[in-house]
Symmetry: C2
C-alpha cells in the first residue's frame, strides 16, 4: 500500500505562463505545492501557485534555487538553459521531462534527425547552417525554413514558396524541409509515466489561418477515418519511444492527400492542442503531466464530449490593461467554457485566454466557437 | 456589446475552506481576482486566491475590510455575522446571496416557516424554544430535533426515536419535526442569476450511513423515475422563488415511500452535493455561482457522464500533518478524479478532500467509488 505524507510533492515549474497556471491548479488538487520561476512578478502561474521565484529561465542560479527547493522540477516552456538542468539532474535532482530530452528537442535539427534515424516518417529535410538564396534553390522550392532554436507559435518558421520570399528568411542556423501540402494538421498528446506506461489522447485536428502559424481552431476529436486515427496514435507512441522522457508531449503531424502521416514537431510539455481536455476528457493534460512526473499512475484519457477550442489573442495595435468585449454575450451560448489567463497587459496576438466549446455535435461546437471568436475582442487601454 | 476591463471583478469570499478554494479557481478563469477572509493563515482557499485577510467571520471590522475592498462579496459558509453584512448592503456594497436571505436561512426555524407559509411541502414541525422530555413527548416520537443556529454536516441535529434518546438532545432553542422514513434523500442545485434566470442541475441522490449525517456517497443523476426528477426540479425552483437571492443554492429533499417530495433544508451556497459538477457537468457549481454573483449569464448545467462522489474524511483518532494511504492505487482506477483540499492538519471526520468517479454506467461508478473509499485512508502524523 502506498503512503504519502502531504504535501505529496513540491513541484517546481519553470515558466509562469498559462500552461504553468493550469498545471498549478491541477497540482493543488493532487495534494502538491508549487513554486514558479518566471521573470514577471505576479505571472499567470504565480498567481495560482502562491509562490514565485522572480528570475530568468536562463539564469543558472535561479534554476538551481528552484530545483534545490523542490522535489520535482518541470517546465511550461522550452527555451530554457538545459546545461544547468543537466548538471542538476546529474546531482540527483529530479527534472521531468529529462533535460537531455529537452535539449534534443529544443534544437529542431537534432530532433528531426533523431526521428529520421529511427525511421519515423517526416518531411524530407537537410541542415542549413548558413541560409542563402543558392542553398534554398539547391534544395528546391517550396520549402519551409526553421530556425534550429527559439521558435514557437509560428515564430522561427519561414515558408519560402519562391526565390522572391527570400526577404522573409531567417538569418540563423536552420534546417530546411520540403513544404508539405497537408490536407489536415493533426496532434496527438502522449503521456509517459515514470514506469514507462504510455497513454494517448484522442487525435485532434489543428486548423490554422492561411499564412499564419498560430492555432486558429482546434477540433477534438479530429474528423478523420478510424484507421487514420489509429495510425496517428501508433506513430505518436513510436515517436515517444524514440525520444524518451516522462510527462506530456504534443506530437504534431501532417496528414497528406495520399493519407500519409508525417511527424512535424514534438513539444516536450503540455500543449495548446490539449486545452480542451480540461472539460472534455476525464483526466486533463495538466493533471496527467503531474501524475507522470511525480510517479502516480496515469489517468483515463477518454473523451466525454466533442469539443472545439479557440485561443483568445490580443487585438492588433492594442497594449496595456486588457479590456474584454463580448464576454457576457459569448458566455450566454450553451457549452462555452472560458479561461482567462490573468495577464496584466495585452499585446498584439498575445495569448490572453482560450475558450472550449462542448457540444454533442462537433460541427455545432465548431460553429459556436466561430461565433465566440467573432464576439470576443481583447483590446487594451493603451490603444493609441 | 458588453465591455469589461480586466480584472472583471474583485471577489470577496467569506470562509477559506474547500468550497472557497474551488470557487477561487473558477474565479480566476473568469478573469476575476479573489480575497478570502478566514481565521487560519494559508487556508485552503487562501492558497489559491493569493490574497487572504486573516480574521474571524464574526468580526465586523474584518467583514467590512473585505467587503469594502471588493466589488462583490460572497461566502462559502453560513455561520456569519449577518447584521454587519446587512449594514454593508445598505451602504451599497454588493453581497450575494443577500445577507437578508442568509439570515432567514441561517435560522432553521425561520427558514422552515417561510417555506411552509408559501405552501412548500416539508415534514410537519413546531418551534421548541426550550427542549424538554415533556415537550418531545407532546410532539410525539420519532422526531428530529434541530438547533435553530449553527448546525452543519449533521452537527446541530439529534434524532429522538424514543424518550431514552433524551441524553442525546441539544439544550438549545430548536425546532422539532416529524422523522421522515425517507426512501431516498435527494438534492437539487439551483442557480439564480442577477436577472432572475434560474437553472437547475440534474437531481442527485445523497446516501448517508445509518446513524450518521455526513454525506457518504453521492450519485448523479439520482436513480429515480423521470417524473419524480421533474417534480424535484420544480419543487427546487419554487423553493428559490420563495427564498430569493442570487447565486447557487442546494435544496435537500426527502423522497417518501409514497413518492412524496418534502423539502428538508436549503443551503445558500455551493454545496457538497455538487462537487461532481467539476468533472461531470459543462458548467461546474463554482463557476455557475460566480457567473450569478458578478452578473454574467448562467452556463449550461448539462451532465456529460454519470458520476459517484465520496468525501475523504480524516480517520478517527488521527490529528496533525495528513498522511494519505492508498492514493496511488486509487488513482490507477479509470475514471477516478481526486481533489485534496490542502489542509495543513487532519482531524477525525474532517473533510480533507473528495473523489469523483466518472463512468458511463452509474452502478460501475458507485462500485469504483466504494473501492476508492476502502483504499484511501487519511491518517495523521500525531496518531497517539
Amino acid at each position: 500500500m502506498d503512503v504519502f505524507p502531504l504535501p505529496l510533492a513540491r513541484i517546481g515549474i519553470i515558466g509562469g505562463g498559462q500552461l504553468g497556471r493550469m498545471m498549478a491548479k491541477a497540482a493543488k488538487r493532487l495534494g502538491c505545492t508549487c513554486v514558479v520561476l518566471d521573470p514577471t512578478p505576479g505571472s499567470p502561474a504565480g498567481q495560482v501557485a502562491g509562490h514565485q521565484i522572480v528570475g530568468d529561465y536562463h539564469d543558472p542560479a535561479k534554476l538551481r534555487e528552484l530545483a534545490e527547493s523542490c522535489d520535482v522540477t518541470t517546465f511550461d516552456i522550452e527555451d530554457i538553459d538545459t546545461d544547468t538542468l543537466i548538471q542538476l539532474e546529474r546531482e540527483g535532482r529530479r527534472v521531468h521531462p529529462s533535460p537531455k530530452v529537452l535539449a534534443l528537442i529544443q534544437d529542431k535539427l537534432t530532433q528531426k534527425q533523431a526521428l529520421a534515424d529511427a525511421g519515423i516518417a517526416t518531411a524530407p529535410f537537410i541542415p542549413m547552417p548558413e541560409p542563402s538564396p543558392e542553398a534554398f534553390a539547391a534544395f528546391g522550392y517550396p520549402l519551409v525554413q526553421k530556425a534550429r532554436r527559439g521558435g514557437y507559435d509560428g515564430r522561427g518558421v519561414s515558408i519560402q514558396r519562391t526565390p522572391d520570399d527570400y526577404d522573409q528568411h531567417l538569418p540563423v542556423p536552420s534546417l530546411v524541409e520540403r513544404f508539405v501540402p497537408a490536407v489536415k494538421e493533426l496532434a496527438v498528446l502522449v503521456a509517459r509515466g515514470l514506469d514507462g506506461d504510455c497513454r494517448c489522447y484522442p487525435v485532434v485536428e489543428m486548423c490554422f489561418r492561411p499564412g499564419e502559424n498560430v492555432l486558429d481552431m482546434l477540433l477534438a476529436p479530429a474528423n478523420i477515418p478510424a484507421a487514420t486515427a489509429a495510425a496517428a496514435v501508433k506513430l505518436a507512441e513510436r515517436t515517444l519511444e524514440v525520444l524518451g522522457g516522462v510527462g506530456i508531449f504534443g506530437v504534431e503531424m501532417f496528414l497528406t492527400a495520399d493519407g500519409e502521416l508525417l511527424v512535424n514537431e514534438v513539444a516536450p510539455r503540455t500543449h495548446n492542442s490539449g486545452h480542451h481536455t480540461i472539460e472534455a476528457n476525464i483526466t486533463d493534460q495538466f493533471e496527467q503531466h503531474l501524475r507522470a512526473v511525480v510517479g502516480l499512475p496515469l489517468g483515463s484519457t477518454d473523451q466525454l464530449s466533442p469539443a472545439a477550442m479557440i485561443n483568445l489573442l490580443g487585438a492588433p495595435g492594442h497594449r496595456g490593461r486588457p479590456v474584454v468585449k463580448g464576454m457576457a454575450e459569448a458566455l450566454a451560448i450553451p457549452g462555452v467554457c472560458l479561461h482567462l489567463y490573468g495577464k496584466a497587459a495585452t499585446a498584439p496576438f498575445r495569448k490572453m485566454g482560450h475558450v472550449t466549446v462542448l457540444d454533442p455535435d462537433l460541427e455545432t461546437a465548431r460553429h459556436k466557437a466561430e461565433r465566440v471568436r467573432d464576439l470576443i475582442e481583447i483590446s487594451g487601454e493603451d490603444h493609441p
